[in-house]
Subunit: 453 residues, 2 copies
Amino acid sequence: MSRRELRDLVRTQLQMLLEEGDLRGAKAILVPVQPADIAEAIEGLPEAMHALAFRLLSKDEAIAVYEYLDYSIQEQLLEELKSQDVRDIVDRMSPDDRARLFDELPAKVVNRLLEQLSPAERTATAQLLGYEADTAGRIMTPELISLKENFTVSQAIERIRRLAKASEMIYYLYVTDAARHLTGIVSLRELVTSQPDQAIGEIMTRDVVFVHTDTDQEEVAKLIQRYDFLAVPVVDREQRLVGIITVDDVIDILQQETTEDIYALGGGVQSGGDNYFQMNLMEVARKRVVWLFVLLITNTVTGTIIKSQEDILAKVVTLTAFIPLLTGTGGNVGAQSSTVVIRGMNTEEIRMLGPLQVIAREAIAGALLGAMLGTVATVWAYFLQGKLEVAIAVGTSLVAISVLASISGSALPFLFRLLRLDPALMSAPFITTAVDVLGVLIYFNLARVILNL
Amino acid sequence: MSRRELRDLVRTQLQMLLEEGDLRGAKAILVPVQPADIAEAIEGLPEAMHALAFRLLSKDEAIAVYEYLDYSIQEQLLEELKSQDVRDIVDRMSPDDRARLFDELPAKVVNRLLEQLSPAERTATAQLLGYEADTAGRIMTPELISLKENFTVSQAIERIRRLAKASEMIYYLYVTDAARHLTGIVSLRELVTSQPDQAIGEIMTRDVVFVHTDTDQEEVAKLIQRYDFLAVPVVDREQRLVGIITVDDVIDILQQETTEDIYALGGGVQSGGDNYFQMNLMEVARKRVVWLFVLLITNTVTGTIIKSQEDILAKVVTLTAFIPLLTGTGGNVGAQSSTVVIRGMNTEEIRMLGPLQVIAREAIAGALLGAMLGTVATVWAYFLQGKLEVAIAVGTSLVAISVLASISGSALPFLFRLLRLDPALMSAPFITTAVDVLGVLIYFNLARVILNL
């Protein structure tokens, strides 16, 4: 049975038992199920059953399941559960998950919840909330284990044993001096394989890779990805250790940042990191309409240019029929170039080539594509309407438009990056406009020359 | 100094010193640099210097740096380095990295290299090479530590101490029975916090999440992401433990799969997982041209429809000017819908909604967008050419086209998934064609009615 089938089965059974009021049976079927799968099953239930199903869980399980739920359902549960239940959950979430949850809640609810935390927990959460969104400070957890250089390996292991429960990550240990400055790192792997009486200062690595609290979360993610770390330490401006960021958070960040890019590339949807499928529809329309208004204007320009060529269109009406082919192909060639360049910037696959090299490569690729497409289009256009001159005008235009589209498709993302604008969001409308307007002009002017108009 | 600046500095210094023949100086500046950064510096050097720079490294460092290099440079180095050096490198790479390298090399080179491995290493690699590409079997590493249920905690820790060097991951330990069937899992965290004389069978988790050797790598990645694991065990058809897959490999897989999707969405570039910026240009053209030929045909259909309306276009020439606006906007609304749906399928953000709910949501969003765009377009069209009837035809068409585009943009990805075709690759041409052809027909027919033609 696949995990998806398992989840569906659990959800169906759970819903049935809850509808029958058989809480005992419902409780029983959840026992062997993993928290992540329980969370999915709860998400699939009708809204009214969420709190009911959640109450079936033991306290420990409830906390594990809660962290896997979507924010919208976390919020809903907070509203519905009794105050004591809520306090238990919030109190025992890890500070970084809690900070992210609070970030989504209305300020009034946040204040009520902060009141319910223990003083130490409140400080940890408030501290995280003080950092800018999308920075290392916001996603880090202060739950780490730090050591001193003069500890022996066995003292260190004893300390880990004592603190393991309260720490998110015990596989990397961080060494600090008296003023909490980060001076080294040692892995649990190194501890386990060292002699018990060796000093931490002897076995630790002094050349630590770290980030600052204001480092952008995307940069943190790339760093962890690049070095294959399980976590990276975060220091403040005075190089004092204040937290760590773990690899599981990084995967989610990479996915979220990629989603934003894909949305931007796929027709200018501005997601801002929210789950599109949980937004209300007015918000959806608002996030999609801006770009469409821009297109309204740029497409009018193309339309106006076509209209300005009425004289030639009236003489050779058949020329109109090839306009969608030329602008459509040009737009697509441009989209191909900008897509690979923008993705290349983000994954750093492009790093071995400079902008000019990339643009030159794309220009040549565009010429190759243009040659193939132009040849086929010439034959195709001749076959469709029987005028050789028109066919040649279509074919030659296509070569020119492919080169033009490849160049603008690869050059504009670099330009926008230089201007500190998001290439994923900005490139498409400008490329489309450039290719449409210039493409149509090239076509009509070539047609004038070739057809002697 | 940012890491990027550091890398650039190292590369510049390194190149200068190598050009001057100062090998000793070159060696010295690399000492404090991390392997990942050295790899980047080497990649930035002129090709002729790669092997020279690589020889500066100590043996241990060379192996660490080698695994970070791009495959193209790994291949080049293999060709250039002396046979003994090569044997050392290949011998000490982890089996999963080695399998991936061999996968890229010509068969002749692979055979020569396999010969040089120790018998145990050869078996491990050959075993990995026997699995299908993109499956768990191919990306797993057999370097794990297994325990038996009757071991005590202290015996287990002793075993870890002994085997740590030869294992990629020592933070999860896997418990097997006499026939190597996977029966449980225990983390180093649990070992460290348990009493030394407890039995592994008492503290281990029996409900292990695992994958099979033929599980698709993307599914493995999603599993690790979903459960926040550091690794997942791989079993064969008889449930015997054969390897593990670690989280660092998963990040790279997620990135590669996303790149393929983005390329497919961005105008149908078929990447097949290769680095686009390292392909030769004929290959680039080949991977991009298929989709362009499809467009050539579909755009001809649109062109033919426009031409078939010559009678009405001759009477009201100004209608032509709004065609790019209508098809352009429709295409973009469709792209927005298909983008969010396809991304939603991949990230499972969509999971709480069924296909019909998603399509209904998109249809309503399309109507909202259409209402906004239609209103503005009517005013805009009237302002541009002064004929109210034409303006109304444009505005009402835009509403209909937005709804149509949203529906086809959200429905077609589900259809292709049902047909087991890649939605990311297939959706765009069909959506564009549907929207263009139907959109133009809607426009002309509405114009006929409104203008009484």
